[in-house]
């Protein structure tokens, strides 16, 4: 089994879809939380002058901080998702390529190879068992 994959972006549509599936709910949940906190604090303070003097300056600081850290957080999140999704899309891509080669060559002695840190190892093991059986039947 090989250890490292050079490319992290193996299957763009699927990996971007996985990223979207993680980033969009995270963004919505954070926005909702931000809104809810803002809403309840406003409702608690109630007196407008106090909201202007206490809450709004604090919110301004929070907003500036959010504007500053959101791109960094998004970048880290995207990289993490890409790295982790690669462990799934990578072996699937590998499996597809290896099977394609076996079909083309009709060589059942070939085996599917996954990297050490990849997920779905059992899929490779079972595919290889199937190939072993096919190889034995063909003899």
């Amino acid at each position: 089994m090989m250890n490292r994959r050079k490319k992290y972006l193996i299957n763009k549509p699927i990996q971007f879809q996985i990223a979207a599936m993680a980033i969009i709910p995270a963004f919505l949940a954070t926005s909702f939380l931000y809104f809810i906190i803002n809403y309840f604090i406003s409702r608690e303070i109630m007196i407008p002058e106090f909201i202007v003097r206490i809450l709004l300056p604090t919110l301004k600081k929070v907003n500036i901080t959010l504007i500053a850290i959101t791109p960094i957080a998004l970048f880290i999140l995207f990289r993490t998702i890409l790295y982790n999704s690669n462990k799934i899309t990578g072996p699937l891509y590998r499996l597809e390529k290896d099977l394609e080669k076996i079909i083309e060559t009709n060589d059942f002695s070939l085996r599917v190879k996954f990297r050490e840190k990849d997920h779905l190892h059992s899929l490779a093991v079972k595919t290889n068992k199937l190939l072993e059986k096919l190889q034995a039947n063909n003899k």
Partner: protein, 239 residues
């Protein structure tokens, strides 16, 4: 069979209760008499810049809120929740004992007495606030935007220092006032009524009394509409 109908029965009973309340002929929605020391327990205090002393004072069995601000700014509010179109009239009695010491050349947002009608919305910027103020330096009927934000409008309902110590009853149609100051009809509910006495900007002392806040319908059946107005009242509270 009963199991099937149980939720529906609850829903129908709830709806009936809601409609019976919403469409009842009740004239008075809420009244704050402040005749008991515990009457301020349901009011919440918010402190901005030093605590104003809000307490119930009882004179000849008649109580009222006494607010004393010494270089302070805090307010008390009571949560309500009603459509102003249904109960547009806000009535209260007030008296100012001491005005903050303002420089006439530099009017600031310190008022001995103000009553708020708060229309909260999903965010502060979409919320609306009407402040009825007793301003010693502005004419009665004067409407101005608060220096704090454009969604806070101040209406001067009483003016001048001459009437210090006298009790006045004010009656405002907050539904009409909302349209007057914001240029559109109030669609959101009134979320709270508040009282504030502050003197923190002028670093002086202000003192006011507030009594008998009422939220009611426009007119009692069979009576003339009171509309908006104010009058001096002879009160046992007179100092």
């Amino acid at each position: 069979m009963l199991k099937v109908f149980k939720p529906s029965l609850f829903a129908i009973t709830g709806l009936l209760l809601f409609y019976s309340f919403a469409f009842s002929g009740e004239f008075l929605l809420k009244q704050f008499l402040f005749d008991d020391q515990k009457d301020l327990n349901s009011w919440k205090e918010m402190v901005l810049d030093g605590k104003v002393d809000y307490f119930i004072e009882i004179k000849d069995e008649n109580g009222f809120v006494h607010a004393l601000s010494e270089n302070a700014c805090s307010a008390i509010y009571h949560r309500v929740g009603y459509k102003p179109v249904n109960f547009p009239v806000l009535t209260w009695k007030w008296s100012v004992l001491k005005f903050p010491e303002k420089d006439p050349a530099n009017p600031v947002d310190d008022y001995a007495a103000r009553i708020y009608a708060i229309f909260p919305s999903i965010s502060f910027s979409t919320s609306k606030f009407i402040e009825y103020i007793w301003a010693e330096d502005l004419p009665e009927g004067h409407i101005q935007q608060s220096p704090s934000a454009k969604n806070i409008m101040q209406i001067v309902v009483r003016s001048g220092r001459d009437n210090a110590g006298k009790w006045f009853e004010e009656k405002r149609n907050i539904y009409d006032d909302y349209e007057l100051v914001f240029g559109k009809k109030a669609k959101t509910s009134v979320g709270a009524i508040a009282i504030m006495c502050n003197s923190n900007i002028t670093k002086s002392t202000a003192e006011c009394l507030v009594d008998n806040i009422k939220i009611e319908k426009l007119s009692e059946p069979g009576t003339e509409s009171p509309g908006t107005g104010s009058q001096e009242v002879q009160s046992d509270n007179d100092e």
